[in-house]
């Protein structure tokens, strides 16, 4: 029952690392232009799901359908070429290479000239243009996150994955970051992101899923999840 503007469908997914069942059963959908949030504590399986989407770990059961194609067994390079990019957990930038080189690598699969893509990214984060020759490892945490996001955008992905984008960042930077995410969302970018403490994310999300011990236990729209008392206690820091 796939909608015409369905970008990603995950059916009945199970992923194991050796004997450890990281994901027991997950079903989810992401539609065009949506901002989807995955909530859950550490070890709940959120990151594993993103790794499975990228083909870095093979599911033991289930299917992943992206833009109408079954990508479950695809190698990572094909998946990225098909239009999925990730902003990894902990930023995942290549610290010994320059800002510019990181951005260029984000466009590895882009066949045409990347000047346009660079312009767009520099408009979003003028700071990066200033520091384009600087070694990426010398940037601050927040700047690195901007770089990681920009790098992922260089390929104009059809689906942008973000693994715990606010991890390790101070509250002011997190606000700025989510302002950018919201802006991208408004401009039509389809985004799937995971967060542990997801107050900010739920504010902007269209829908969300709650993971617990490798299973998606709850799903709903942003407001529904925000007002759910169990969710509030577990993932929104209790108070308002």
């Amino acid at each position: 029952m796939a909608k015409r503007n369905n970008v990603l469908t995950v059916q009945n997914l199970a992923v194991a690392y050796g004997h450890i069942q990281a994901i027991k059963k997950v079903d989810l959908q992401v539609n065009q232009g949506e901002l989807i949030v995955l909530l859950g504590s550490n070890g709940a399986g959120k990151s594993t799901l993103l790794h499975a989407l990228l083909g870095k770990v093979r599911p033991s059961r289930g299917r992943i359908i992206f833009m109408g194609q079954d990508i479950t067994q695809w190698p990572t390079e094909n998946i990225v070429a098909a239009g999925i990019s990730i902003v990894p957990e902990g930023r995942g930038i290549l610290s010994l290479m320059s800002v510019m080189e990181n951005l260029q690598l984000g466009a590895y699969h882009v066949k045409h000239d990347i000047t346009e893509n660079l312009h767009r990214v520099f408009k979003l984060f003028p700071l990066l243009e200033e520091r384009k020759k600087q070694q990426a490892g010398t940037l601050s945490g927040g700047e690195q996150q901007m770089l990681a996001l920009s790098r992922a955008l260089m390929s104009s992905p059809k689906l942008l994955l973000m693994d715990e984008p606010s991890l390790g960042l101070g509250p002011i930077i997190v606000n700025e970051l989510y302002a950018v995410i919201a802006d991208l969302h408004n401009k039509g970018q389809t985004i799937l992101l995971t967060e542990q403490n997801a107050r900010k994310a739920l504010k902007y999300a269209d829908r969300g899923y709650v993971f617990d011990l490798g299973t998606s236990v709850l799903s709903g729209t942003g407001p529904e999840l925000s007002s759910n008392p169990g969710v509030r206690k577990a993932y929104l820091g209790g108070g308002d």
Binding site: K56, T76, V80, I93, L94, M97, E101, L105, G106, R151
Partner: protein, 291 residues
């Protein structure tokens, strides 16, 4: 005075042989994170096969020189799949032994199928670069010039490839962080093949240089080059391209000087002794490791 200059030039030429091999090894280290101990043997095999091509084409340089490069690429790329399973498991020491396996096979092939292991001499149009030059009282060969200039150009092209091309960036990214590179969609297999291909082209060039500078080869030089290259890489610092290059040139000069001033087998012992002490005291090499 003149003889010293002549020795210097000779030493630099030999040194550029070592330098190019070290550069190739460093590239392969970047590409797959392994020390391809078989690479120097691939270089010598390319030289032997190139010698065959020269013989078959009546010493036609126009056909043979590109043949050297093509053979180098084919041989090197052919070994890439052998290293893949070990590289993925990060089995570093084992890859050293894999290279040794290649060493055993190649050395035996040369001992049996190429004049039964006797000295294989290159024809005069390639040996010594085709001629000797005299500069006042200093004699050297065209090969010395070709080797030095050609070596510089080769290294320059390699650096351009590594630092200004997409594939070069991909190789460096994989060397830095395999996981992130994968997440970016950088293909493990294809990038490895490209890296090995470039190293193979380098192998072809070194083979040509061997033909020009050494003028004759025997099965033993595989071992000699491999051990020196390995030890040079450690001395300079694993993965340190410029450091390795400098140390290789220095070794060439030291060898040439020592041969002129102090003939006998003691120089070999002393050179190895010094290198051994240095790598024990500074395991990361004189210029620092980048691996």
């Amino acid at each position: 005075m003149e003889s010293i200059i002549a020795q210097l030039i000779d030493g630099l030429a030999r040194g550029s042989l070592y330098a190019l091999i070290v550069v190739g090894l460093t590239l392969l280290l970047l590409v797959r994170g392994v020390v391809h101990f078989g690479f120097p043997y691939i270089v010598v095999m390319t030289a032997y096969l190139g010698w065959m091509v020269l013989g078959l084409t009546n010493n036609n340089l126009l056909i043979s020189l590109p043949a050297f490069v093509i053979i180098g690429i084919i041989l090197t790329v052919a070994t890439e799949p052998l290293f893949r399973p070990l590289a993925q498991k990060r089995a570093f020491l084992e890859t050293l032994v894999l290279g040794q396996g290649i060493a055993i096979i190649f050395t035996d092939i040369w001992s049996h199928f190429f004049l039964h292991g006797q000295l294989v001499a290159f024809p005069s149009n390639i040996a010594a670069g085709g001629g000797r030059i005299r500069f006042g009282m200093i004699y050297f060969t065209l090969a010395d010039i070709y080797a030095l200039v050609g070596g510089l150009i080769a290294v320059g092209i390699l650096l351009y490839f590594l630092y200004r091309s997409k594939q070069g960036r991909a190789i460096r990214a994989m060397a830095q962080d395999l996981d992130i590179a994968r997440s970016l969609g950088i293909p493990f297999n294809k990038t490895g093949l490209v890296g090995f291909g470039v190293a193979g082209a380098l192998a072809g060039i070194v083979a040509i240089a061997i033909a020009m500078i050494l003028e004759a080869i025997n099965p033993g030089i595989g071992d000699a080059l491999a051990v020196k290259a390995l030890v040079l890489m450690l001395f300079a610092g694993m993965g340190n391209l410029m450091g390795g290059l400098v140390c290789a040139l220095m070794l060439g000069v030291v060898e040439a000087m020592a041969q002129a001033l102090m003939p006998g087998r003691w120089t070999e012992a002393i050179t190895f002794g010094v290198i051994m002490l240095v790598i024990l005291v500074r395991p990361n090499g004189v210029f620092g490791s980048r691996a």
